[in-house]
Symmetry: C2
Subunit: 131 residues, 2 copies
DNA sequence: GAAATAGTTCAATGAGCATTGAAATAATTC
DNA sequence: GAATTATTTCAATGCTCATTGAACTATTTC
């Protein structure tokens, strides 16, 4: 009988995705991009970060599939970054499900020494173990 | 005019919370706890981790307020861990909102050299900057 | 009180990673 | 083609943190 999620989640993959999101600079960059700002120069204006640092964090977000890049058709020095909406939706879905409080199951009453005690009086047998 | 979330999120705090969640071992522990297993011995059986490592990760989860501990009333050597439902709900709410794809705003058209080009012909003035 | 059991704390190791400044690449302008 | 602009890559530094084994605390059993 399975007590966890129906299909056991890939914790390694989930952790890797969450690690990408667990940086304040990257959260701020994401927030700016979500807000509709995609011009690199304006990103720099908002963020007060060294350009190479912005570049580094954006590359992390790109490798994670969260952000896409597109060069300007007229002046190819400019690059526009944008949120990969599908990727964000997938993350939102996955973690929304995993961390949903509704998933919490009640404490299993047949576990631990208390259970043994409750059924056989004040003293339990010495080999008492859960299950 | 604000283009991001109404009240600017505390990226540092969010990142710290996400960092706690960005470990495969901690995700697995959380999943076991969410599944209703709270007896330490059974946690150990499920996780195939050294007891001191379980203890370490659980202490991280406890410091983050995600997990609570309670000693067995009969045999105080046993400790039962449980999910702090309110804390999980708060996290689910915060991140569900932040990463919601519905928040994504369209690209601002008045940004970058393309905008200048579109209104003033093929050549833009050399000092062109966004906004 | 000695042995056994449940769990935590400590110290050491090593890997990963954010940050910084400088150099390099790419594209455009004059 | 030299200078300028936009962005990336590189190398070095230092901090954080997961992991391990050993020692320690607390509690119960005999």
């Amino acid at each position: 009988m399975e007590t966890r999620t129906p299909t056991k989640p890939d914790y390694e993959t989930m952790a890797r995705q969450l690690k990408v999101l667990s940086d304040p600079r990257r959260l701020e960059i994401l927030d700016v991009l979500i807000g509709g700002v995609q011009c690199n120069c304006e990103i720099g204006d908002h963020l007060d970060m060294a350009p190479n640092l912005i570049s580094h964090h954006i590359s992390v977000l790109r490798k994670a599939g969260l952000v896409r890049a597109e060069r300007d058709a007229v002046d190819a020095r400019w690059i526009y970054y944008s949120i990969n909406e599908e990727s964000l939706a997938a993350i939102s879905e996955t973690f929304g499900q995993f961390f949903s409080p509704g998933r919490i199951k009640p404490r299993r009453p047949d576990c631990g020494p208390k259970a043994v005690t409750l059924t056989s009086g004040h003293h339990r047998q010495s080999s008492a173990r859960c299950q």
